[in-house]
Structures are given as C-alpha cells and as structure tokens.
C-alpha cells in the first residue's frame, strides 16, 4: 500500500435477530442520514424526527430492508426522501412560496447580510420538491458525484443532471439578487 492504511471493521448484516440487525443499521447509517436530513428540513428537531421516522419504517418492515451496506443505505436514503416528500406535500403551498426574493441583499458581507442571504437560500430550497432538493444538497453541499447519487437513488445519471439543472434554474430565479445572475 502506498501509504499507511488505517481501517476499522464494522459489523453489518449481523445475526438473524431483526432487533440486533436494526441496531447495527442505526449505528452504521445514523450520522449519514442525519446530515442529509438536516439539509432537507429547516430545523435540527425536524431533522432528528425525519431520521427517526426513517428508522421506524425500517423497524416496522425489517424484511423489506435489503442486505449489504450499499443497498441498505440506498433503501434508507430513499425512505428518508419519500418521508420528507410526504411532509412537504402536507405543508401549505403558501408557506413554501413565501417570496424569498423580496428580502433585500446588501453589497457588504456583514453578518446580518450573510444571515439574510442564508434565510433566502433556505426559503428557496424549501420550494424545491424533496427529491430535487436532496440531489442538489448531496451534489452541492456534500460533494457527492452524479454517478454516486444516481446509484443511491436508483435513477440514471441523466435524470440526476436534469434535476440539478432544474434546481439551479429555480434557485437562480429566486436568488438572482445574491448571485448577480438575475434580479
């Protein structure tokens, strides 16, 4: 090996006891799911609830969770996004379409201006459908490659790029005042 290799071994797919397996699933995937969840909803509490609801779905249907790290991770991510989508649909359209563009941007990068910009970005992200938002945050914030997102969500790379393009266009429309691309 070119450089010193340091690794840990994590048990997965353990035993036959569903509770034991769920404990392993939880320990192995909780952090990753939380990070995605936090970027999909507007508060820490909502993010914690969303991750817990995802694992509760796995707890109620243990046999539907596939075996193997990559497959079970993909299953959990899809369930999390679908759960977020269900909640998103219940949210009133008015709440989602509060016009973030109405917030005025200032040229200076003061803490207040940065906070206003962040608020505007979050409002703009809230208007995206959850799957598109998940693809956008995985790509833009987490640096996950298009091909990896595609295999995680079970869709083609072309579809991932299409979602990214649609998201960028929608965000540019509402955030143009901050990017200087469009008012």
């Amino acid at each position: 090996m070119d450089r010193e290799c340091v690794a840990a071994i994590v048990p997965i797919n353990i035993g036959r006891d569903p509770v034991e397996r769920l404990a392993s699933l939880f320990d192995l995937h909780y952090d990753r799911l939380y990070r995605l969840s936090r970027r999909l909803v507007s508060s820490t509490d909502d993010a914690l609830d969303l991750v817990q609801e995802t694992f509760l779905k796995a707890a109620r249907r243990p046999n539907s969770v596939p075996r193997g790290f990559a497959d079970e991770e993909a299953w959990l991510v899809r369930v999390l996004i679908n759960t977020a989508r269900d909640q998103w649909r219940k949210t009133s359209v008015r709440t989602r379409t509060d016009n973030p563009g109405s917030l005025s941007a200032t040229e200076t990068r003061s803490p207040e201006a940065a906070l206003i910009a962040r608020t505007a970005v979050w409002a703009a992200l809230d208007s995206l459908p959850p799957r598109r938002r998940a693809i956008t945050v995985m790509y833009e914030m987490d640096g996950v490659a298009v091909s990896a997102i595609a295999s995680l969500l079970g869709i083609s790379a072309i579809t991932v790029r299409w979602h990214l393009s649609k998201a960028r266009r929608a965000l540019a429309q509402t955030l143009g005042v901050y990017t200087g691309e469009k008012q």
């Binding site: 290799c5 840990a8 817990q52 694992f55 707890a59 990559a70």
Partner: protein, 201 residues
C-alpha cells in the same frame, strides 16, 4: 457569487453541530429498537397445501440458478492477503505482539485467523459519507459467516484485528457479533479501496 457557493455558504452543517448529541442519538435509538421489538411479535405462517408446490418449485429453481451462477464466484489467487484475527490488549501465552498501523498502539494477536481470503465470497467498493473516501464491503461465504459468528461471539469488548498484507490495519473493539458481512471503513481513496476489494477475493 454562484449558486453552488451560495448553497455551500448556507449549509446549516457549517454553522451548527454536524452531528446530533450522544443523548439525542441514544433516545432515538431506544425508540426505534423498542418499535422493532414490538413489531416482531409472534409471527406465524401457516402453509396451506396449495402453497407447498410453488414453494418447492421456487426452491428448485433457486438451486438450479445458484449452480448456474456459481462459475462467476470462482475464487482466484488473492493479490492482497486478508485475515481477521482475535486480539487482546495485554500480552499472554501464545499471543504475538503486533503494532497497529498509524498509531503507537500494540495489540497481541491470537495464533489462528478467524477468517482469511478463502472465506470471502465477494468484496466491493462503496462510497463513504465523506466525499472522495471509500469503504470496502466484504461478504463472507457460508462457512466464513459461521466462523465469524462463532469466533466473535465469545470475544465481546475485546479487540478484533484486521490484517492486510501482514500489517494490522485496524483493531477496533468488538461491540457486537459479526456474521455474513462486514464493512471495512477507513480513509481509503477509490484506488486503494478498489485494490483491497479486488485483491482480497
């Protein structure tokens, strides 16, 4: 400023704790595991005669398919030597001292490996939560899975050494038994992970 930069600057994980607290995690874990225990219940399947023939047929088809597929998992000479050994934190009779790569830690290896290359059915690279870092998922064959389950069952809260090419690359403390498969996590680039995954089969 571009959209991507704007998004990264607004990333909530840049401005708050990137992970939940241990208490939050523990509370959520308890709720989930309690639900799982309740959901298990005394599930029973009553097999009606009409269900037996399709079940037998499905088993036969599965057996034929398994035979047909077996050539694809024929093992070749491993290019990377891989072993999992039980280990101890203190010296003892029959134990061999070994340094853990990347640390000053010394552990004491049992003389027999629990599993080695010949017990692996497949290995593949999977993306880690961190960008550009990869893990290796190892699936043991039936004999290997039984060896892992037996070997790790009586070794809780003691170290388990992973030995690649003669070097102890990790010696985590065993917190639960390991059965059919395991994940080798580490700071691997894709090339390193591929080398391990391709080499240990």
């Amino acid at each position: 400023m571009k959209i991507g930069e704007l998004l990264r600057e607004a990333d909530p994980l840049q401005h708050e704790e990137p992970y939940p607290s241990a208490d939050q995690r523990k509370a959520s874990r308890q709720v989930v595991l309690k639900t799982a225990s309740n959901a298990m219940g005394p599930a029973r399947i009553t097999l009606r005669p009409a269900m037996i023939y399709p079940a037998v047929l499905a088993l036969l088809v599965a057996a034929i398919l398994a035979r047909a597929w077996s050539p694809s998992v024929v093992k070749v000479q491993a290019a990377v030597s891989f072993e999992i050994r039980l280990a101890e934190d203190a010296p003892g009779p029959g134990l061999r001292a070994a340094k853990v790569s990347g640390s000053d830690r010394t552990i004491y290896l049992h003389d027999q490996a629990v599993v080695s290359n010949s017990d692996i059915e497949s290995a593949r690279v999977v993306q880690s939560p961190a960008p550009s870092r990869y893990y290796v998922e190892v699936k043991f064959d039936r004999r290997g899975a039984e060896k892992m389950l037996r070997g790790t069952r009586g070794h809780m809260d003691r170290p388990l050494a992973m030995v690649i090419d003669g070097k102890v690359v990790g010696a985590p403390t065993l917190r639960s038994t390991i059965g059919g498969s395991a994940l080798i996590t580490g700071d691997f680039t894709k090339a390193e992970a591929e080398r391990i995954a391709n080499g240990i089969r």
